[in-house]
Amino acid sequence: MATQPQDIQELMRRREYSAGFVTSIESDTIAPGLSEDVIRLISARKQEPEWLLEFRLKAYRRWLKMEQPKWAQVHYPPIDYQAISYYSQPKSHKDGPKSLDEVDPKLLETYKKLGIPLKEQEMLAGVAMDVVFDSVSVATTFKKKLGEAGVIFCPISEAVHEHPDLVRKYLGSVVPFGDNFYAALNSAVFTDGSFVFIPKGVRCPMELSTYFRINERNTGQFERTLIIAEEGAYVSYLEGCTAPQRDENQLHAAVVELVTLDDAQIKYSTVQNWYPGDEEGRGGIYNFVTKRGDCRGRRSKISWTQVETGSAITWKYPSCILRGDDSVGEFYSVALTHHRQQADTGTKMIHVGKNTRSTIVSKGISAGHGQQSYRGLVRVLESAENARNHTQCDSLLIGDRCGAHTFPYTEVRNPSARLEHEATTSKIAEDQLYYCRTRGIAEEEAVSMIVNGFCKDVFKELPMEFAVEAGKLLAVSLEGAVG
């Protein structure tokens, strides 16, 4: 017999998390807890220069005085910051692998399971990749080829030693150490992450990608990414994230800083699939991330594209400060929440320079008991002559226990600005499903097709091979959504 509409939820209920395995690998993990001593220890292990230790300590002292933000539409028990270990690295990594051949085979196996074959991938995908396992970067590929183009792509811990002037100049220049609670925490304890520098006039010859993986129990991941595109430079960068399936919650508090000088362009894409927790909301990653791009130069451009399907709680607002005249900021987002997942995500576009333009396209999908909020700010300062913004914000609901919320702030102080904001909320129409089914397409596939159609405007912004991945990820996440 024909299925009832409620069955949409039935299909949605069961969802397999294929990245949920644990790698049993010996790790060197410091005892849980946070103090100045712990920070000194992290800094010492990484043999950091004095200025960086100072940066960490200043951030830590500021953080002590700050309160966890409460304004987001997310609910979770208080986090015990003393119960988290702030540093964990695979033991075999202690002396640092010199090349991929020295990387622990178990690690390579881990990435293979995740569909990231580090070795073959050098030949096949043509994507340079940095891989961060718990607190440290374990492998960076294609270094040589990038080096020939003058591109620097390495773990930030390495950049601190190899390119101290660049790191010192830009670190914290977009997201200051005291910017917000989680950014301050990150500034105090960040362990690794990627550093990218594209010199003047260079178009990065390949996609750059970082893969983040949390493996250890009771650890947090606090990575820091810094990308600088000098005058006329271009880079497309993608990050992916997974974590094992565990019953307790784990904290991920990253900071990403992007800087574009005149005529430069950074395209930053995220496919976030941290463990979302189970059906009842047990476990899952708390994903509290600060991402900000600074269009410092004229005619520069920063595009954020994100596909957020994982994490128990997502709290992130990749933003653009459009400082340079004629600069452009873009934000394309697909966020999916189901079971007990919660997401409060969106963007900020701060128009400072003349003729600055921003585009926001946000697609939210809620199913099960998922709760999702779009929170966005478009601010046009007095100096921003002829600023333009277009915001499109759509929500799709699957089932009657989920929620979709929209909080768009618009603040305009220049009379030549033109801003448009549109938002709609709807459910997958029964007649669309029925139509597909009369064509022989099973309900589940039909839902996946309709959802992918709903997200099309965002997927087309992703690099080709990842757009396909994102579509599949969404389909997997929707498995069990209908039927």
Binding site: C402, T425, S426
Partner: protein
């Protein structure tokens, strides 16, 4: 924050109250003194800072002022309040006034202040199937003669039983600066009741006005509300609409054109608590000079409020470099079978339209005025009393005799 002056004023005010009421009023005052005026740290007051009011001193009773020489609307009944006191001579239905104000515990400090000092107001209660034969015009006229400016706190109540119908117009006319006025309107609509409510304000541009309308809508009831702001210095309006039972419908329209230095903050909150309800919200603003305008519209669809149909739109014209517009149309949705849309725009007069008018020989200020009128007419035309519509258009600087005659003809047709 020093609120000492309010505590002192209260003693003076309470002396004039019937002894039986004093304790309840004092309790409300306590609530206000504890919380103080809201500051931007509260999300609901993000854009409006009242903390400066804390240090001010307002006289609780203000005997000054004379009745205005205004041409009253024809075919209309009237209650006239002079500085919060009913002018019986000029009111056609003085019996609708009620002194008592047995307000429930106020949920915010401004409401508590209002409840503590309330001098009552309209109490309209219609029985089943009863219809108010003519629109009721409730005028609050403010004019301080005394050296220290006064404050007026009014509380109105409208209760319509099943299928009752009424049109009520609240209008503020202020002639002097420095005053503080608060108003709370409580509306309860039973099944099938229909209320048309206009809230118009042309306060002095040095006055502070804080208002709030709380409405509960029963099954299949209708509220058609229009709010127009032409004056005021620091103005804040809160609209709380609860669509409590199936089939209820609210249509809320607003137009604001703040004075050159003014601050106008409209906050609307529409709660869909039952299935098959419908809400339509449309606000427009013309913001010039150093004015600051805020619109925050919140639509909440509660679990179970299936088949909700909601639309919300706010359009702002920002005409000066020193002016500011903040808009936030929010949706909070906890049901799945809903149709909700909202939109917000900030922009200027359409260049191509100006160009077109110029090609027809209409240029400069005249062309701009024409487009502004067209912009405002979309809201003004929702006021079904032609006389009132015309006078508002004049006050807002959006009048054009012919055009509004035409519009009126269209509305009546």
């Amino acid at each position: 924050m020093t609120l000492a002056a309010y505590a002192e004023s209260f003693e003076q005010f309470a002396a004039g109250l019937p002894p039986g009421q004093r304790a309840a009023r004092r309790e409300q005052l306590g609530r206000f003194l504890d919380a103080g005026f809201p500051t931007p740290r509260l999300e609901a007051w993000h854009y409006t800072d009242l903390s400066a009011l804390g240090a001010r001193r307002f006289s609780p009773v203000d005997p000054g002022g004379t009745a205005p020489a205004v041409e009253w609307l024809a075919e209309t009944d009237r209650l006239l309040y002079l500085n919060g006191r009913l002018d019986r001579a000029q009111s056609t239905l003085p019996e609708l006034h009620a002194d008592d104000s047995s307000a429930a515990a106020a949920d915010d400090s401004v409401a508590a202040l209002n409840a503590a000092f309330s001098s009552g107001g309209l109490h309209l209660r219609l029985d089943r199937n009863q219809r108010l034969p003519r629109p009721l015009h409730v005028v609050a006229f403010g004019d301080t003669a005394a050296a220290s400016p006064g404050m007026v706190h009014q509380r109105h109540r409208i209760e319509l039983a099943e299928n009752a119908e009424a049109t009520v117009v609240f209008q503020f006319l202020g002639r002097s600066a420095g005053r503080l006025t608060t108003q709370v309107v409580e509306v309860s609509l039973a099944a099938g009741a229909k209320l048309t409510l206009y809230r118009l304000q042309n306060e002095h541009d040095g006055a502070t006005l804080l208002t709030r309308i709380d409405t509960r809508l029963g099954r299949d009831s209708r509220l058609h509300a229009v709010t127009i702001d032409g004056g005021g210095g620091l103005v804040r309006h809160d609209f709380n609409m609860l669509l409590a039972e199936a089939g209820a419908e609210v249509e809320l329209s607003g137009l604001y054109r703040p004075a050159p230095d003014a601050h106008i903050d409209n906050q609307t909150r529409i709660v869909h608590a039952a299935p098959h309800c419908r809400s339509r919200e449309r606000f427009k603003g013309i913001v010039d000079a150093k004015a600051r305008a805020i619109f925050v519209g919140k639509v909440i669809v509660q679990p179970g409020a299936q088949k909700t149909d909601s639309e919300q739109h706010v359009a702002n014209l920002l005409l000066s470099r020193r002016a500011e517009v903040n808009a936030k149309p929010e949706l909070e949705i906890y049901a799945d079978d809903v149709k909700c849309a909202h939109g917000a725009t900030v922009g200027q007069l359409d260049d191509s339209a100006l160009e077109y008018l110029r090609s027809r020989g209409i240029a400069g200020a005249e062309a701009r005025a024409l487009l502004l009128r067209a912009f405002g007419a979309a809201i003004l035309n929702r006021i079904a009393i032609p006389e009132l519509r015309r006078s508002l258009a004049l006050q807002l600087g959006l009048a054009d005799e012919e055009e509004f005659e035409d519009a009126a003809a269209e509305t009546l047709a």
